[in-house]
């Protein structure tokens, strides 16, 4: 299955790719978003697997500076996440909230927590059981992009939906 075919069957993915092309870090070395992975291996994942979630749905959303509002592009991603999570109910879910480095450490722990909570609340509103959802904040302690400019900071202001093992 070719890359073009995978992309045309998946219009949301194209939107994601376009969005990341605008905000993406020019010097990133490793895939650090769903869209990056999707370009490399969409379609290979078994439906319902964690890889399927990361690659075909998109496991993360991004935020504006010092904000925990769910942007329109993020709402699209989270709606897809909710649909998938409601289909595959075997997963427990941990939402990681992160901040960029342009804030002080303690404040950013709180900001990351607020982003994780906003993400959780959105998924709950879309029907995902609150019992399955936990949140954790990493503040600015776990950056994925490590250059010192705006394109990196925008990738680090994120909430990542992680599947913490099947069967719970």
């Amino acid at each position: 299955m070719g890359r073009i075919a995978a992309l045309t069957r998946n219009p949301v993915m194209i939107a994601l790719v376009a969005m990341l092309a605008i905000t993406g870090c020019a010097s990133k070395k490793t895939p650090n978003s769903a869209a990056d992975l999707g370009l490399n291996g969409a379609g290979a994942a078994t439906p319902g697997s964690a890889q399927d979630f990361t690659v075909n749905i998109g496991d993360r959303i991004f935020f504006d500076t010092d904000s925990s509002s769910i942007r329109a592009d993020a709402q699209t991603t989270l709606a897809r996440q909710a649909q998938w999570l409601n289909q595959y109910k075997q997963y427990a879910i941990v939402i990681e909230g992160h901040a960029d480095e342009r804030g002080t450490r303690e404040y950013n722990l709180a900001l990351g927590a607020r982003r994780a909570a906003a993400t959780r609340d959105f998924l709950v509103a879309k029907g995902v059981s609150a019992q399955r959802l936990k949140t954790i904040s990493y503040g600015k302690e776990r950056p994925v992009a490590v250059c010192d400019d705006i394109s990196c900071w925008s990738q680090n202001r994120r909430a990542v939906t992680t599947l913490s093992g099947a069967g719970s």
Binding site: E101, R102, R105, E106, Y107, L109, A110, T135, I136, S137
Partner: protein, 436 residues
């Protein structure tokens, strides 16, 4: 006998103004720093302590480094010395020291006692007045050589400035190593000059924001060791650890109360906002101090324990607020153009240090406790987290540049910035109190 003593008195007078038992109006300090901050460092000669072989020179070097880094002293190079001190208890030839403009002179000796302890003594001389200003003797075990030197430096600093010294102090901090996206963070403790580093955690879990208890025996800090980030207590000597409180969500940003009986910290609410709580360490009872749908964090008590300064974004962006220790009368005090966080109350009670983000920069500054008189002491691309030296004259913070954070100190004039040597990257410094 004319006014040769004057330079000494200038510093002493300045110092007395800043530590007067009767509090001066707070503006006096700010004015002093703005207008008279450019104090000419006092030329001082510190001779090698006699006896003890290399030990004598080591003590002299540590005293010299402490005084020099304070920015208030200009130690004279030993190669300029004329008189070779052979008996540190005898009156020196003052003329030999005056001619090299050493306005103060330190002599001393060090030796082993019969019981194995080190005995160190110093004398401080005013060369232009031609008299001894102070002299003291200290005993310590072998392991404490550096500490004895710091105590002597403190005594000299105090005699010449009229202020408490801060050299016999330690700093807890986060030692950082490894790539930026996989940083290993360890709790560590060292002397204020970067010597005697000791690790207090193994680096398996992220640890952040350590702070000393008033008796210097414990630290409170935040760790991810249980999965959820939580506030812990650690006994430094025994290594014994315990969780502070049993809260459902993340706890963070801890600090001790000045009496050491409470830890004040932020607790994450289920709605994603954070409020400030104080927990009594004996009764384990907790008191909620803020209840806002905002981020309330980084609480810090005033030294008398009656007030708390903290960060909140309840007004939109993060600003500094002050409230009573019971949560009453929450009042915003920062109104400048920018985002304010990490407020820390000075041990003197007169100032609040903070981090301010404005114009793409991170600044370290101080303001009076009502928010007026803001002064920026240091600016940089990425720096934050001031902590006070126990005498309230020097701040330490961390600056992220060249791939990772390093520790920096700056005095209240903003003119004497020094980097603290650490072998790895270092962040979140917290200065110990003085032992009474």
């Amino acid at each position: 006998m004319r006014s040769f003593l004057k330079p000494l008195l200038t510093i002493a007078a300045m110092a007395l103004g800043m530590t007067a038992a009767v509090p001066l109006p707070a503006w006096a300090l700010v004015e002093l720093n703005v207008n008279k901050g450019n104090v000419e460092p006092l030329p001082i000669a510190i001779t090698d302590f006699q006896g003890g072989d290399a030990l004598g020179a080591e003590i002299s070097d540590i005293v010299t480094a402490d005084l020099k880094r304070s920015g208030l002293f200009a130690p004279i190079d030993k190669s300029a010395f004329i008189e070779k001190i052979s008996n540190p208890d005898a009156q020196p030839r003052f003329d030999d020291w005056k001619v090299i403009n050493a306005q103060a002179l330190v002599t001393g000796s060090v030796g082993k006692e019969a019981d194995g302890r080190i005995r160190a003594q110093y004398r401080l001389w005013d060369t232009f007045a031609g008299q001894q200003m102070s002299g003291e003797q200290f005993f310590a075990n072998d392991a404490n050589t550096r500490r004895v030197a710091h105590i002597i430096a403190d005594a000299i600093y105090e005699r010449l400035t009229g202020e408490k010294g801060y050299f016999d102090t330690r700093v807890v901090f986060i030692d950082e190593s490894g790539a930026k996206n996989a940083r290993k963070k360890r709790l560590a403790i060292m002397d204020q000059d970067g010597a005697n580093v000791r690790y207090l955690s193994d680096g398996r879990a992220i640890v952040l924001t350590p702070r000393f208890s008033p008796n210097r025996q414990e630290i409170t800090y935040m760790s991810y060791e249980s999965g959820q980030p939580k506030v812990y207590l650690l006994q430094i000597e025994t290594g014994q650890r315990e969780l502070v409180g049993n809260f459902p969500g993340m706890t963070f940003a801890p600090r001790f109360s000045p009496d050491g009986q409470k830890v004040i910290m932020s607790l994450l609410r289920d709605d994603g906002n954070s409020n400030i709580f104080a927990m009594d360490l004996r009764s384990r009872s907790t008191t909620r101090l803020t209840n806002s749908t905002a981020i309330d964090t980084s609480p810090s008590y005033s030294p008398d324990g009656s007030k708390v300064v903290f960060t909140s974004d309840r007004g939109g962006r993060a600003q500094i607020y002050v409230m009573g220790a019971d949560g009453s009368g929450q009042t915003r005090i920062s109104f400048g153009d920018g985002v304010y966080s990490t407020p820390v109350w000075s041990p003197r009670g007169d100032l609040i240090a903070f981090t301010k983000q404005t114009g793409g920069e991170f600044q370290i500054g101080v303001m009076k406790t009502d928010g007026s008189g803001e002064r920026i002491l240091s600016s940089g691309f990425q720096q934050e987290g001031p902590t006070w030296a126990p005498n309230g004259r020097v701040l330490m913070f961390f600056r992220d540049a060249n791939g990772g954070p390093k520790l920096i100190s700056v005095d209240l004039t903003g003119r004497n910035e020094q980097s603290i040597p650490t072998s790895n990257f270092a962040s979140d410094p917290a200065w110990s109190p003085l032992l009474e």
